[in-house]
């Protein structure tokens, strides 16, 4: 790596992390202004644990993120498996539509879903349809393309003879699916689930147009503070979430680093190949 590139890398990383450092500093500050550091304190964390508004909102965000990512992953995995067996033209039409929520600006996706819900509400004569259900439906919708696209390459690269071999060996189609197919596409399913979960947890723009006053999430609450200064306990919450995410990433990095080194016995293709090696010797 040449020196100039290295310097740009470091400067850009500093640029990306500067606001995060400020927010973390703000969580230990006695004042409410991020720009002025008065005195060091833990009181914001104490206030956070005594708090009765932020924690429930965080739980709301988590409920929506868990439900929407699990449902989207299940629907998306099934879809990825089914779409492969479509004819070429129909498949490309389906994939074009699937790409719409990804290429469309978030605000347009949010607006279009809110209009759909309002129209649907008119149809069933209900004036305030917006709430938990609409929020969940919207989150599943914008998560789906990511789960499909992350499972799809695994399905494409899967050797169809593996499933056939399992069935020749006496598996029913359902058993073959759970014992062989799922194994093959599992990495795609897991990464799709993780992408969907993080996207859903942090989404503001789409949620903003489809949430109802009965059920809000944390980003919506933060947005509502646009005019007034934020209570510093939000910075404490941010710091805790950041620390947790950092810990998860470090653990994942170590675990996957180890997994790369040792042979993975669970992988059926590798087992098949290894047996061939044994036969050769």
């Amino acid at each position: 790596m040449s020196r100039a590139l290295k310097i740009i890398l470091i400067v850009v990383l500093f640029f990306l992390y500067l606001p995060i450092i400020l927010l973390i500093a703000g969580s230990f500050n006695t004042g409410t202004d991020l720009a002025v550091f008065k005195e060091f304190t833990f009181s914001n964390y104490v206030a956070l644990f005594r708090d009765r508004t932020l924690i429930p909102l965080l739980l709301n965000s988590l409920i929506v993120a868990v439900l929407s990512s699990v449902i989207a992953t299940a629907l998306g995995t099934a879809a990825a498996l089914g779409i492969r067996s479509f004819g070429k033209r129909f498949r490309s039409a389906v994939m074009t539509v699937t790409n719409i929520p990804m290429t469309n600006p978030d605000i347009v996706t949010g607006v279009s879903l809110s209009l759909l819900f309002v129209l649907g509400g008119k149809l069933f004569d209900r004036s305030n349809v917006l709430g938990f259900t609409t929020l969940l439906l919207a989150h599943i919708t914008f998560n789906l393309p990511y789960t499909i696209l992350s499972v799809m390459p695994r399905v494409t690269n899967m050797d169809p003879s593996l499933r056939e071999a399992a069935m020749d060996l006496g598996c029913t189609p359902v058993q073959a699916f759970f014992k062989v197919v799922i194994h093959e596409i599992l990495p795609g399913i897991v990464s799709g689930l993780l992408i969907a979960f993080t996207m859903s947890l942090d989404d503001f723009v789409i949620s903003y147009f489809v949430y109802g006053p009965s059920f809000a999430t944390l980003p919506i609450e933060i947005y509502s503070y646009t005019k007034k200064p934020l209570p510093p306990k939000i910075y404490a919450l941010f710091t805790l979430l950041f620390a947790m995410l950092l810990a998860v990433l470090i653990v994942m990095n170590i675990v996957s680093g180890r997994a790369d080194k040792r042979p993975r016995c669970s992988n059926i293709t590798q087992l098949v190949f290894r047996r061939k090696d044994v036969e050769k010797t």
């Binding site: 606001p19 607006v111 759909l116 980003p219």
Partner: protein, 270 residues
Amino acid sequence: MRVRGLASPYLAWMSIFIILPLCAVVYYAFTDSVTGEFTLRNIVSIGNYWPILIKSIWLALVSSLICLILGYPVALAIARAKQSRQRFLILLVMLPMSMSFLLRTIAWVSLLEDTGIINNILGKFGISPLPLIRNNGAVVLGMVYNYLPYMILPVYTVLSHIDPSLIEAAKDLGCNRTQVFLKVILPLSVSGIISGVSMVFVPAVSTFYISKKLGGSGTTMIGDVIESQFKTAYNPNLGAAISLVLMVMVFICIGLMERFSGSEEREALM
């Protein structure tokens, strides 16, 4: 097993929650807010917002360009780092993306405002406060900050897949480092650049939070107009019409870019 049938729940979902909402946008865009009858008035009155639309496109283009200038060397630096370090650096670039973009934008306000951190530091050197916020520059900075990872990731993906023997071949044939970059690396990374530019441009052109926090009265973006039609002015029909125009515009841009870069490469990226 009827594998084909596995996709039917998704096909139903797709029709209801992707296709129908777009129909709803078209329906609202062409109907009157009071009578519900067909009208072209919403589409015609977009004319009033033409300067705002042009300005949004301009600011988004400028931020895409800055993201490219900053992001390309970063992607190159990561792609040239040791294999074991590349993963870590990519995680480092992605990590800020998963933290609340609202709070990170608020942190920029405290850096840039008249009594903010940068002006405080400048003040210590006897420099009077600079107008760092409530202008186009601050909005562009906010966009670059928020969307820079979207540029770095696709460019890195393409760069890390370039066969090193191609670079060696170019060197063997007498290219110097600049020539290797201009004749081999840059042309091979065009698809990553295009994908990065569109991934920055689309959220940047439609943003409303960044312009609200970092911009002033003169930096209203098209996203702000849409948001206000739904949340304060309550004219969803006009909001739908502007959304429709924005969507068509984005699809034309993406279509042009894809034609320019060749769609196969784009598919390979995803």
